[in-house]
Symmetry: C2
Subunit: 369 residues, 2 copies
């Protein structure tokens, strides 16, 4: 198999997964159900995904020899996190198809490139400006106003790598605090709701979106997702359409998530794109139990060159993350009727660490008439 | 942990699974979702369950040293097949809890012991007789009549180790054909339906039965299961009650399946027990997609000392086995709306080999009124 993106796996073929966290683990479990093998590459010897595959590579992402050996062992490469080093992706892509493609990674690894890309599609985002110096920050802060959020262009997640700026803040101190020369200032969005759409796209262009999910964060970490989001149908349609257009414009193969804000400002509510995650996403975990096909299976089908499924939701679904020592509540959750408990097999329950999640599905009320 | 049956696993603990087929594989996948590790022991280097665990032991069941090392690595031992050699179970049970217990294995490994046990509970079976010689076969054939089925007492499955006897058959030839001195003659049951009940029992005595399943065999191999079985409620209640009583009488911990015949003989229909499988069972595969908890998770919860779930069925469920080269139809199945495809990752699609299965769920019709 060459580096072409035209992949067609057979049962028994092997998928290489970069990253060994819970997303890689759940991807590997979904692949196993389809008769596909996985090999996981991760620098962390305690990677939870290692537990569910026969072959694992424990090496740094900068280890070219390890990457080459890994590529030789697999038929296609995918990843569970967006911060795959570009050099690693290049080494792998020279030997095996990497899906989603490197260009999708490059677009979404940089907040500025990503926002430029989204706005180029005529899709709205918060106001933003490139900030590469204190002078640029002062100018951007003047144009965009406060409150605003200063973010590193790269490598931020779960609220890391960002500082909120209020009226009167000392911008020199804020700039020093962020500690980078590559930043973006975004207007703070007084949103009504945070929502996301998880979409899958196949190499042949087929796109399947899951229902819009409403997300509730706590300390910048996703705590609860609810599907469907309690928003008007037209807005949900707009959100799904945005995700489809983004996936198509990226010529994307696999699952991505688009995080959005619902804003109204006293007018009819609209949607702003906040962020694209070029991977399966925490806000799609409800699909494991609440839909006829999960985001993980959709991703595996897409990168295998297999047809996507048409997702049907089983009811009203709530997904609750177990964060840090909340994992200790697993025994109570096991006794809740209809609750499905997922534990990630991680060792230490450090504060803020995602240790597992619970799904609860309320059957759809019977249709009247 | 000692050899006691009082097990209480913590997330991150390890379950040892004897047997590396699709049942072991699906048990390991269910355990992974609960944050538990598995180690698989199997003599077959191509075991499909090896693909989904980090640690595997490839050794013969008679290899005492390998069994001891395996026991040292795990916190509890279970199995995916009833023909676990008694000596292996004994070696393991001296070091770690083995669940279900050796006594449940011993009762169900021998068709005669099993039928004696079932009838001792006041539960009906087909007429049967112990046959250890040609003379005994002649006498049993006279008493039981024809047609009848001569079966080896041990190690039969999927129609192997059995011969049907018709009026006028040469019993000497039949006896020679079976080639054992340890057999049982069973009256052939002109059944209306074949059904099964998959039941889970926890160490504290809690029993949870899945809904009664109706099974259709082809060439002695399960082809289609449907849940619920199209039988009157009272009969379904009787079938579930039988499974519960058997599990309780065996002081069973884990999942078992009881295969039964529905017979009427012109009278009100009744149920005869055909066979007990002390393990997860092909006729329970529909629970993976068609119920709020699967038979695999119930088994893992039971042997982990965790509370069982209360299974709720999602609708009318059909499970179709993909046998031999029927696996080649997986691509068509992937396109069937609502169908969930499971492939076992086996190599050669030999005739009669179970390669995968497909589940289809029709949502429950809305309740009227």
């Amino acid at each position: 198999m060459t580096g072409s993106n035209r992949v067609k796996l057979k049962p028994g073929d092997t998928i290489g997964i970069l990253g060994g966290g819970q997303l890689g683990r759940m991807l590997a479990l979904a692949a196993a159900r389809l008769g596909l093998r996985c090999q996981v590459f991760s620098p962390d010897p305690d990677s939870p995904a290692f537990d569910v595959v026969l072959n694992a590579t424990c090496a740094e992402y900068a280890d070219v020899e390890a990457l080459e050996l890994f590529a030789n062992d697999v038929d296609v490469v995918t990843y569970e996190f967006e911060n795959v080093p570009s050099a690693a992706a290049m080494v792998l892509a020279a030997r095996r198809p990497v899906l989603p493609s490197r260009s999708a990674l490059e677009t979404t690894q940089d907040r500025l490139t990503e926002k430029d890309f989204v706005t180029s599609l005529g899709i709205r985002t918060a106001d933003y400006a490139d900030v590469s110096s204190l002078a640029a920050l002062r100018e951007a802060a003047f144009l965009i106003g406060q409150p605003a959020v200063l973010k590193t262009r790269r490598f931020g997640y779960d609220g890391k790598g960002q500082v909120k700026i209020h009226q009167g803040d000392d911008l020199e101190r804020v700039w020093a605090e962020l500690g980078t020369k590559s930043a973006i200032l975004e207007a703070f969005v007084p949103f009504e709701r945070e929502i996301s759409v998880v979409a899958a796209r196949a190499a042949d262009g087929q796109v399947e979106c899951f229902d819009v999910t409403e997300n509730e964060h706590r300390d910048h970490i996703l705590k609860v997702s609810r599907a469907p989001a309690a928003i008007p149908d037209a807005l949900a349609e707009e959100a799904r359409d945005i995700a489809s257009r983004i996936a198509t414009a990226l010529d994307y193969v696999g699952v991505l998530a688009v995080e959005m804000f619902v804003v109204s400002n006293g007018r009819a509510p609209g949607v702003l794109v906040n962020e694209i995650a070029p991977r399966v996403h925490n806000s799609g975990h409800w699909t494991l139990d609440g839909a006829s096909i999960s985001q993980f299976e959709q991703h595996i089908r897409a990168i295998a060159g297999w047809p996507l499924g048409k997702p049907l939701r089983h009811g009203h679904v709530t997904m609750t993350n177990l964060i840090g020592d909340e994992i200790d509540s697993y025994e109570q959750w096991l006794t809740v009727p209809g609750a499905t408990v997922h534990l990630y097999g991680k060792g230490a329950a450090r504060p803020g660490r995602k240790m597992g999640h619970v799904t609860q599905v309320s059957p759809l009320p019977p249709k009247q008439g």
